[in-house]
């Protein structure tokens, strides 16, 4: 919050204003952190802030209970909830670990909250929850589900049928059981309010007629992302009746289209002059991509990261004309040469993600990217601030150069595919390279490190990464000191996730109070033992210390001798509501 405003408006003065005025002033303050600060000023402000808070963000659904949330913020309209820890994305968290949505919907419904917007990430959502949601909140407008699972298209059908004012249904990378039903048909004919519809992650057939009718009666539709079962002709018809689209996700077009179909598609695309964002292409014949040439210069966001069929040259041919692109997600089949071309063409680039097309090197291809591509991008794209880069190798020299070229990184995530891989030229660790990054990028908030790394890199991170909020570590470090450097040094650290690194109890226990300032800590395949974790749990009752073991029955048989046993997976987080009661057998909460 603007400190100048804070000092000028002394609270005693402000108390002469009616509450509505103060509330109106608070309306301008949107950031959650600022809101939290205001509420601490005095009781009066706390109360006003409570009743005027409409948007709440909960980074860990187990940090608080739905009942307490609703008691504090009864006028809640928009809720964001995150469930499983990040490494659940990579199969490191059991499917049934937790993060269930139902208790929240239940409580919100009972509390008669006027919920309008719900954004979920890594939560377990059931059809019953979706049904309850659709019936409980009359003004419900927006549902965004990211990386969730546990539901089917039946749940979607309830939402479609019952949410009369639905504007947004955005399903990103969820695991949805597709019953191949008629959920699209469930949107009533009176539903004309859709602004955003994304069902790209659905795997089954789509009722094309229903979809076309829905799009035709949605004049406000700006974002449409279809799934793979929408063929070319259908896409053409959809685009023809929605030329106002800003954001388009296309289906799957393996077969090369008939010339006539292709011509119609191009004509429809040409009319979409507002189109700025393109994605999908899960399987696409190269020629289909060329249909988008007419609008590629307008694109600010392009996601070709599912297009495994496209060779590097096809990608390059297209991307080089996307001169305004700010966000680019692509596969490493583009190659270093391709990235050099991107660097010379895409001067507006802000965020780049390069995913591995062959994560396990099965095809033995040599087109994966290396440090060359990264250096080129850093040199050519002055606005770059976020990168996720999967590569075969990296050198210290390259990282030092990148740091010098791009001191503005906010997010820097580097994943060298082979664990522990050193600098191939010098055979040294990559400590210096990453050290240069953290030293130069003073605003760095998120960092993922990889390759051969010793404790030294963590010393650098602790010393220089003052704004770091999230750090991901894998196969790195030598001793507990590594982890301690980070815990001691990074004052703003909120999330720390570590796997396969030799950090143990000494690091874990050195500063228990630190975890109260953080959202969570994940450690898997490290050196922490059950005894260490138990000790931590005893000294920090405000934490939930969860042990996840493969072997369910292990929990019952555990006795004193096993305290030296290494813990497979540890996940701890601060909470105000104590132990959760919905943990499965494979999870022990100490």
């Amino acid at each position: 919050m603007n400190r100048a405003i804070k000092s000028r408006l002394s609270t005693s003065e402000m108390n002469y204003f009616p509450d509505e005025v103060i509330e109106h002033i608070f309306d301008f303050i949107a950031s959650h952190r600022d809101r939290n600060s205001i509420s601490l000023v005095n009781k009066s402000w706390h109360k006003i802030e409570r009743y005027s808070r409409h948007q709440v963000f909960i980074g860990n659904c187990y940090a608080i209970s739905p009942e307490r949330l609703i008691r504090r913020f009864p006028c809640l309209r928009s809720l964001t909830l995150k469930g499983k820890p990040h490494f659940a994305d990579f199969n490191l968290v059991p499917h049934e670990w937790g993060g269930f949505l139902h208790p929240w919907i239940d409580a919100l419904a009972k509390g008669r909250v006027g919920l309008e917007e719900l954004r979920l990430k890594r939560m377990v959502v059931s059809d019953e929850s979706l049904e309850l949601l659709s019936r409980s909140f009359v003004s419900f407008k927006s549902l965004v589900l990211v990386s969730c699972d546990g539901f089917t298209t039946d749940g979607l059908a309830s939402v479609a049928a019952n949410c009369r004012h639905l504007r947004e249904l955005d399903l990103q990378e969820n695991e949805i059981d597709d019953h191949r039903g008629q959920w699209l048909n469930c949107f009533p004919d009176t539903c004309t309010t859709l602004v955003s519809l994304n069902f790209a992650c659905l795997k089954g057939e789509t009722n094309l007629a229903a979809l076309e009718r829905l799009v035709a009666r949605s004049p406000n539709l700006k974002s449409l992302k279809v799934n793979r079962a929408v063929p070319l002709e259908a896409l053409t018809r959809l685009m023809s009746c929605a030329p106002q689209l800003v954001d388009l996700g296309v289906g799957c077009y393996e077969n090369e289209p008939e010339p006539e179909s292709f011509a119609k598609l191009m004509a429809a695309i040409k009319k979409c002059t507002l189109l700025r964002s393109l994605s999908g292409f899960s399987e696409v014949a190269p020629v289909c991509l060329t249909a988008f040439y007419p609008i590629c210069e307008n694109l600010t966001s392009l996601n070709l990261s599912y297009a495994a069929e496209l060779q590097g040259n096809h990608l390059i041919e297209f991307v080089q004309f996307c001169k305004r692109v700010q966000r680019l997600w692509i596969l490493d089949s583009i190659g270093d040469k391709g990235l050099e071309i991107v660097a010379s063409s895409c001067k507006e680039l802000q965020e780049l993600r390069v995913f591995p097309s062959d994560p396990h090197d099965e095809e033995d291809n040599n087109t994966a990217v290396t440090e060359v591509g990264l250096v080129a991008i850093s040199a050519g794209c002055p606005k770059l601030h976020s990168i996720l880069y999967f590569c075969k190798q990296m050198t210290n020299e390259a990282l030092i150069t990148v740091a010098r070229n791009c001191p503005n990184f906010i997010r820097f995530r580097l994943c060298i595919l082979e664990p522990n891989k050193p600098d191939p030229i010098t055979s040294q660790s990559l400590d210096e390279g990453f050290g240069a990054i953290v030293q130069a990028c003073k605003g760095l908030r998120r960092l993922s490190v990889s390759g051969l790394l010793t404790d030294k890199v963590f010393l650098y991170i602790g010393m220089y990464a003052e704004q770091l909020e999230m750090l991901s570590i894998a196969f790195a470090g030598d001793t507990d000191k590594g982890m301690l450097y980070v815990l001691n040094g990074c004052k703003k650290l909120r999330k720390l996730e570590i796997r396969d690194s030799p950090f143990g109890n000494a690091a874990l226990l050195a500063d228990v109070g630190k975890y109260e300032t953080m959202r969570s800590l994940w450690m898997s395949s490290c050196e922490v033992t059950l005894g260490g974790c138990k000790r931590l749990a005893r000294n920090a009752p405000w934490l939930n210390v969860e042990i996840i073991n493969e072997n369910e029955s292990g929990r019952m048989e555990r006795n004193e001798e096993d305290e030296r046993e290494k813990v497979d997976r540890l996940y701890l987080y601060r909470t105000v509501v104590g132990t959760r009661r919905d943990a499965p057998p494979c999870v022990t909460i100490l």
């Binding site: 994305d89 495994a308 396990h360």
Partner: protein, 261 residues
């Protein structure tokens, strides 16, 4: 901005290496400025650090003393003795990951299956029961799944070539895979049942012909080379209308064309 963590009592001062002025020092009193310089960050390419090795050795003799104190805290049995010799090359002492590692590289499951031609489809490998999804998702190398598409059928299939021993068997399998789909495409009212058998794929006499794309990207007619040679070079299959053979093969320069010119 405190350089020290919350619980001063439990925090070993030895590790209080990040103090306020951002100069790091050892609280033990052994203020080794040489070491300071070596660990000072420079924006220069590596390679000038020949003295690194000796510095590390110096550090290690101190390390043992420190380590004993640290580990007295928790009675841990972790012994650093096997890690005293730091050398940049000691990969063997690290946690190397032999073979496929669970959850590595850190990509979502559906991305892992994009390029691999022998993946299982439709997401059943994403659902892991207890963190061993990675093992389930690894395709068996014995199966040889390739994609197969058919003109006028929007959805493709996959065939496991290792299940067949001859072109005839493959042809029969193609008929089984696509007969129903083709009938459904052609007769939207769906009355007729199974539809006509798809025959003559290999001899050019049927309505459709089987072609493939080899590992060099060329489009070929199926049936010319010995079966095993075919299996080792095929990347994907396509069933095209026989009437369009010449135009279909035009899009990729076929070996026949190359040889003719």
């Amino acid at each position: 901005m405190e350089g020290c963590p919350r619980n001063r009592e439990t925090c070993p001062k030895l590790l209080d290496l990040i103090p306020q002025e951002r100069k790091w020092y050892h609280d033990e009193g052994k203020n080794n400025t040489d070491q300071e310089k070596k660990l000072e960050l420079r924006l220069a390419p590596p390679g000038g650090d020949e003295e690194d090795g000796s510095v590390m050795k110096k550090k290690n003799t101190k390390k043992e003393a420190e380590d004993k104190t640290i580990f007295n805290l928790s009675g841990n049995h972790f012994s650093p003795s096997n890690k005293t010799n730091y050398a940049p090359h000691h990969i063997s002492q690290k946690r190397t990951a032999p073979g496929p590692v669970v959850g590595w590289p850190p990509v979502r499951s559906f991305r892992k299956n994009l390029a691999s031609s022998s993946s299982s489809k439709l997401g059943n490998d994403q659902i892991n029961k207890s963190g061993d999804g990675e093992k389930q998702a690894e395709p068996k190398r014995e199966g040889m799944f390739v994609k197969i598409n058919m003109d006028s059928v929007p959805i493709g299939r996959k065939v496991d070539l290792s299940a067949y021993g001859s072109y005839e068997q493959l042809s029969f399998a193609v008929d089984k895979l696509f007969r129903g789909l083709l009938a459904a495409q052609r007769d939207a009212s769906g009355g007729e049942g199974e539809g006509k058998p798809i025959i003559g794929l290999l001899d050019g006499k049927g309505e459709f012909t089987l072609t493939y794309e080899d590992n060099e990207g060329d489009k070929m007619l199926v049936g010319d080379v010995p079966w095993q040679m075919f299996v080792s070079s095929v990347k994907r299959l396509r069933v095209i209308k026989s009437s369009e053979i010449s135009s279909a093969l035009r899009f990729g320069c076929s070996k026949e064309d190359k040889m003719r010119n």
